[in-house]
């Protein structure tokens, strides 16, 4: 599932991004965390989800809100909170670093600390994140960090990613970049364009990067194809071929992430299900997440 520079490391940082909102970054990031947490192989003893989406929806709304009060958010404490997750009779702890949802729209550090300058605030946040990751790796050498970024590949994300690669040089850390898109035509095209831009401009050479493009079938296109009697696998291959033709970095792996009705339903207004009560949805299987 992972590139060569990932498997040889004990710790891993998964960098999840997209070039448009609503592609499913947070769900994918949480699925990485929860899947690893309950994986029989138990590769990681320490799994941390980091919400760095300073523009996006608040992660804390997905979990039991009482466990994620404002005063415990990462930008105040530089620490994650622990969330106990339970599936059948197994119980594990996920560490969640989240940002203050109310202050996001001002800046990462908000007005309380008199830091109106967003760039400075972002700089501080980036340092805090890096320091935190370093300390955690020192504490537990097989840690998994899943970084749920804000959509777009902003300067903040680029710098952070570069820092992570620097970290990877002298520590046993593998970096995996995942970019999520829906099958929407505009979304895919923008994604290709941005990925190409990123490959051209990003300071780390593409041969050192393990990148994946995740096609999130939120429309349940596969079901539609099936109902028409069209072979789904072939369709994915056609799509993949077309995308790869346009990508500069030919080593980018394309994955299909299948639609989940259960996940689609669980955020429905007035019928919301908290993640803690619906752990099973956040699992990868051979049938819902696979390479094309």
């Amino acid at each position: 599932m992972s590139g060569s520079n990932v498997t040889s490391k004990n710790s891993k940082i998964i960098f999840i991004n997209s070039f448009k909102g609503g592609a499913g970054k947070t769900t994918l990031a949480l699925t990485h965390c929860i899947d690893s947490l309950f994986n029989e192989k138990k590769e990681y003893e320490n799994i941390v989800y980091m919400d760095l989406d300073i523009l996006g929806t608040g992660t804390c709304y997905l979990f039991d809100e009482k466990k994620m009060p404002i005063e415990k958010c990462f930008n105040y404490t530089q620490k994650p909170v622990s969330i106990e997750l339970q599936l059948q009779r197994q119980q594990y702890t996920l560490y969640v670093a989240y940002l203050n949802p109310r202050l996001k729209n001002h800046s990462a550090y908000g007005i309380d600390q008199f830091m109106y300058h967003q760039e400075v605030a972002a700089e501080i946040l980036r340092n805090d994140v890096l320091n935190f990751i370093k300390l955690e790796i020192e504490r537990a050498s097989n840690s998994l960090f899943v970084l749920d970024c804000a959509p777009g590949f902003s300067e903040f994300e680029q710098k952070l990613l570069k820092d992570c690669y620097t970290l990877a040089l002298d520590r046993k850390v593998g970096i995996l970049e995942e970019y999520v898109t829906t099958l929407d035509e505009g979304h895919v095209r923008k994604c290709i364009q941005c990925l190409n831009d990123s490959c051209r401009s990003f300071s780390v050479s593409e041969k050192h990067r393990t990148m994946r493009l995740i096609l999130n079938d939120v429309q349940n296109y596969a079901k539609h194809l099936n109902s028409k009697g069209i072979e789904v696998e072939q369709k994915w291959k056609d799509i993949s071929k077309e995308i790869k033709k346009e990508l500069i970095n030919r080593s980018i792996e394309l994955y299909i992430w299948r639609y989940s009705e259960s996940i689609a339903m669980q955020s429905t207004f007035l019928d919301k299900v908290k993640i803690e009560n619906q752990i099973d949805d956040y699992m990868f299987t051979r049938n819902n997440f696979y390479i094309i």
């Binding site: 039991d64 059948q88 079901k223 019928d271 099973d280 990868f284």
Partner: protein, 995 residues
């Protein structure tokens, strides 16, 4: 040679006492005592029985007896005979009693007075075990007793050393032999077994020389088995009787046609219950070695005789595989996929054929069978997973017969049923799960004084759990077949019956409805005649006991009932009639209990009309209405009319985890999951494959078969509101039935765990009131005897703890967060259960000796501590059993919460106190609806980690906020819930209150 001089003197004393007891308070009687052996008549001086006119009669000369009877001046006549006088028509006025009274209390009373000894309860139990397991003549018992008394008391060494008088191996022990040991000694004393086993030991040169002219070989050659028993002690020959198995159950429930049932269905049961230290593999090796020895086999008829093998089995299997291969080859698959499928199928075939001999060991030799079947079961399940998980294969196989033929591999389909042999991978998986349970019991064996008791309880629970089967439905050729649970573990194959045939699959019988029938009689004391309609009962187990209870009611002054007519309506009419015919004599022909049979619902309907759901249901409902209107009490025992037709539904919960496990399916992991969590993925795999054989759907699917048919419930409500005297009892295996119809009035509810299934018992009647739990009283009491008897069919289990006890009453309380168990021993012979439950006549704790106290404490601490904390399928099963039973003893919300807490595994402080006020209101409770709802609420929150909108909406669908409030108020005071439960419940309550 034992000396029996003066024995006739003692016999005369016995006669005087026995006759006096039988005739006490009667001025006039014609009494006959039979079964008296010839030897007692020789020197019997009947003139010393001058209080009565006594004469000895036989079939040739009974004229004197007739003359006495004809003399109207003679009021008290006693006839003594060997064969009895029942066949003599002219003496039919005489009441006849055997010389060995059936009433054991009377027997002990007479014997202790005759021989002027005090009989300890443990000695009575010991002799009762002998009498229960062997035909003993009165003279033998009398001589045995006579010979075992020394210095005015029963000498234990003699009691064991004189067993040969009873035709049983004698023992050197100077202690009372435990129940298991004496039972085994009795079994191995049968002349055929003695002869074959000892001959075998001699021919195999395994017997050490026990010497002399009375050597075993000499006595065997003379055929003098009795002399062998007189000469040798059991301890000398015990080694030659390993693995001797009794073939049928002792007479428990012998009214049913369970003749094929074996005492030890598997080698593990044998090892555990006989407390054999040998490894299970060694035990089985010996069995398998002896399997073809006709003489040995004939003596104990091992269970593998139930498992049929024919020469063409392998041939049929190979034909099925060839056909399947051909079918696969005709599917439009890529070469790679085709090869994958065929390779897997070939592996299944290879592993199966390679292990055929091991498979033939059958589940009787469970260890060997499971060891040998694991390979092909794994391959078969992998093959099923390949089809399910590989999209291309799955889609291509939809609409073909490949999947169904694969599921039906090894099976035979004919006459509306599918026979799945015990070696089908699904059946083999079932046996492997059973083996895992037994292995765990074996592993947890210890050397403590209550080890046997612990084992007995766990084995009984394992037998109940083993009555379940991993899958229930199989759809083939557009017809749906359902497991007949009465065939699981019974006949070497599991039968799936065509749903249209209406043949029963229920494991419910008369034991579970006994309380309801008696309750109806009690609630209607003025009715003289009661009609009870029973629909879809599985068999007649428990009918004898029910008939006897009805008879008790009929002679009681409290009730007018003089006739109860059961109208038994079942598609299994013929089988039930046969069973009834076998037990009619025992039920009695006094016309108090009568039977009518019918089929209802199934006989006049064409398959087409039944297939048509709506039309079929309408017809059924009309018929049901007629049945209900004709009867006073109607009992629907998990009848199909209660539910909508089974349908395949998409599984919504846990699909990803199931998928992940099946991606790397491992039978051992599946078994572990089943053992630890009572759950595994095989049922999902089985059902989903049936679905994808027809439909190109994704995800997991399962048969939903217990959706409550609201039309039936409406009909029931309508009938009981029209006529408040009618009662309708619904027995349902739908776990949610109570919450699904909780807004219905006039329902009383109980929940029972019965033959492996959870059964809700709902009593609909206009006369039912709502029983509300008190808000105070964090205590409940229960009878150990009743609990084990009702929950696990373990009779007199308390006697393994305290042999002299009649019952043990436990009172559970919590004080300062610590569980307290007050243990009261009931030892008074004369008390019936009801008296005991009222807490009278409790033994003073001081009378328990140290060892007994220790044993009792150890058992209580184990049950509530280690056993419940093990948290596996067996302990969980027992927790459920206990919860159901304890709810019937819990009269307040705190008591119900206490029950919940107790079942999670707790440290318990045991006290033997006689000062506990036992506030036992009653024993035959018919309603604990609120307790069951509380249990369901707590179960609901245990599945939740946090409170969200979905939680709230689900809560509202199933429960009432008022009950939740009462639970929370109670917990605020008593703190019986754990912090997580408390937090979630409070969270829900806060949200519910807002709404």
């Amino acid at each position: 040679m034992k000396d029996f001089k003066n024995i006739n003197e003692y016999f005369l004393r016995y006669l005087k006492l026995y006759i006096s007891t039988l005739t006490e308070g009667k001025e006039e009687f014609f009494l006959s005592l039979c079964d008296i052996e010839e030897e007692f008549f020789h020197d019997l001086d009947i003139s010393r029985l001058s209080k009565w006119r006594v004469t000895v009669v036989d079939n040739r000369d009974y004229s004197k007896a007739v003359r006495l009877r004809n003399d109207i001046r003679i009021k008290k006549i006693i006839l003594l005979s060997g064969e009895g006088i029942k066949q003599i028509d002219s003496l039919k006025d005489f009441n006849e009693y055997p010389i060995l009274p059936r009433n054991r209390t009377m027997l002990w009373d007479c014997l202790s007075k005759v021989f002027q000894v005090d009989l300890e309860r443990s000695i009575e139990s010991f002799i009762e075990t002998i009498l229960d397991n062997k035909e003993i003549a009165f003279s033998e018992l009398f001589k045995y007793f006579y010979a075992s008394i020394e210095n005015g008391k029963v000498d234990l060494t003699k009691l064991n050393g004189n067993l040969d008088i009873l035709g049983i191996w004698k023992s050197k022990s100077d202690k009372i032999l435990n129940k298991g040991r004496i039972e085994k000694m009795i079994r191995t004393s049968k002349s055929t077994i003695v002869e074959s086993r000892l001959t075998k030991a001699i021919t195999e040169n395994r017997m050490k020389d026990l010497g002399g002219k009375n050597s075993i070989s000499t006595l065997l050659s003379q055929g003098n088995i009795q002399k062998i028993l007189e000469t040798y002690y059991y301890e000398d020959v015990e080694a030659y009787f390993k693995n001797t198995v009794r073939n049928t159950r002792p007479n428990e429930e012998n009214e049913s046609s369970n003749e094929m049932e074996v005492l030890y269905a598997t080698s593990y049961e044998y090892k555990l219950l006989e407390q054999i230290d040998d490894d299970i593999s060694d035990i089985e090796s010996e069995w398998l070695r002896d399997k073809n020895d006709e003489e040995i086999e004939a003596e104990f008829e091992l269970t593998w005789k139930d498992y049929e093998f024919s020469d063409h089995m392998q041939e049929d299997f190979l034909k099925q595989v060839s056909k399947l291969k051909e079918m696969i080859q005709n599917v439009d698959l890529t070469n790679l996929k085709m090869e994958q499928l065929l390779e897997k199928l070939e592996n299944v075939k290879k592993y199966f054929l390679d292990n055929w001999e091991g498979v033939r060991a059958t589940p009787s030799c469970l260890y060997t069978f499971c060891l040998k079947s694991e390979g092909y079961v794994q391959e078969y399940i992998e093959l099923l997973c390949l089809i399910l998980l590989d999209d291309k294969i799955r889609l291509k196989l939809t609409g073909t017969q490949v999947i169904i033929n694969l599921l039906l591999l090894w099976c035979e389909k004919k006459d509306g049923e599918i026979s799945m042999p015990f070696y089908h991978p699904i059946a083999a998986f079932h046996y492997m799960s059973l083996q895992k349970i037994y292995e765990n019991i074996v592993r947890n064996q210890d050397v403590g004084s209550i080890n046997y008791l612990k084992t007995r309880i766990q084995v009984a629970a394992a037998q109940k759990v083993g009555m379940q089967f991993p899958v229930e439905f199989l759809e083939s050729d557009g017809r749906l077949y359902r497991v007949d649970y009465t065939t699981v573990n019974k006949v070497g194959k599991v039968i799936f019956r065509d749903m249209l045939s209406g043949l029963g699959y229920s494991v419910l019988d008369f034991r579970i409805i006994q309380g309801q029938v008696i309750d109806y009689i009690k609630k209607h004391p003025f009715l003289t005649e009661i009609n009870v309609a029973v629909l879809d009962i599985g068999d007649l187990n428990g009918l004898l006991q029910l008939a006897s209870k009805i008879r008790e009611c009929s002679i009681s002054d409290d009730y007018n009932v003089s006739r109860v007519t059961f109208r038994i309506l079942s598609a299994q009419e013929d089988e039930l009639k046969k069973s009834l015919a076998q037990m009619l004599e025992s039920i009695g022909t006094d016309d108090i209990v009568r039977f009518r049979f019918g089929r209802y619902g199934y006989q006049n309907k064409s398959r087409d009309s039944l297939k048509n759901n709506t039309a079929g249901k309408k017809a059924d409902l009309a018929e049901l209405k007629e049945i209900i209107e004709e009867a006073d009490l109607t009992i629907l025992s998990d009848s199909s009319i209660l539910y909508y037709e089974p349908k395949m539904v998409s599984n919504k919960i846990g699909n990803n985890m199931i998928m992940k496990r099946l991606e790397h399916v491992d039978i051992r992991a599946q078994l572990e999951d089943y053992f630890s969590n009572s759950n595994c993925d095989i049922p999902y795999l089985w059902d989903t494959l049936q679905h994808i054989a027809i439909e190109q759907d994704e995800g997991f699917w399962c048969w939903k078969s217990r959706a409550i048919n609201n039309q039936t419930i409406s009909l029931i409500n309508q009938v009981i509101s029209d006529d408040i005297e009618k009662a309708i009892v619904v027995l349902s295996s739908n776990a949610d039935i109570i919450s699904e119809i909780n807004k219905t009035k006039y329902i009383q509810a109980l929940r029972r765990k019965y033959n492996g299934k959870s059964i809700n018992i709902l009593n609909f009647s206009g006369r039912n009131g709502i029983e509300r739990l008190d808000s105070e009283g964090e205590v409940f009491s229960y009878s150990v005897k009743n609990l084990y008897n009702e929950a696990l069919d373990l009779e007199e289990i308390h006697q393994y703890i305290l042999p002299e006890a009649k019952d043990i009453i436990l009172t559970i309380q919590i004080k300062d967060g610590i569980m307290h168990c007050h243990c009261n021993i009931c030892s008074d012979d004369g008390l019936d259960t009801a008296d005991v439950m009222r807490g009278t006549q409790l033994e003073q704790p001081g009378l328990l000796v140290g060892d007994e106290k220790k044993r009792c404490t150890e058992w209580i601490e184990w049950q509530f501590g280690d056993f419940f904390r093990q948290d596996n399928i067996i302990s969980r099963y027992c927790q459920e059993l206990w919860i159901n039973q304890w709810y019937e003893e819990a009269y307040s919300v705190p008591a119900v919460l206490l029950v919940e807490r107790l079942c999670r595994g707790n440290e318990v402080k045991v006290r033997f106190g006689q000062n506990i006020e036992l506030d036992h209101k009653r024993t035959d409770r018919t309603d604990c609806m609120e307790a069951v709802k509380i249990h369901d609420i707590i179960g609901f929150v245990q599945d939740k980690v946090t409170v969200d909108e979905r939680t709230i909406s689900q809560f509202f669908e199933r429960f009432e906020a008022t009950l939740l409030e009462r639970i929370i108020r109670c917990d605020e005071t008593h703190h019986l819930l754990n912090s997580k439960e408390s937090e979630i419940l409070t969270g829900i309550y806060e949200r519910v209150r807002e709404i």
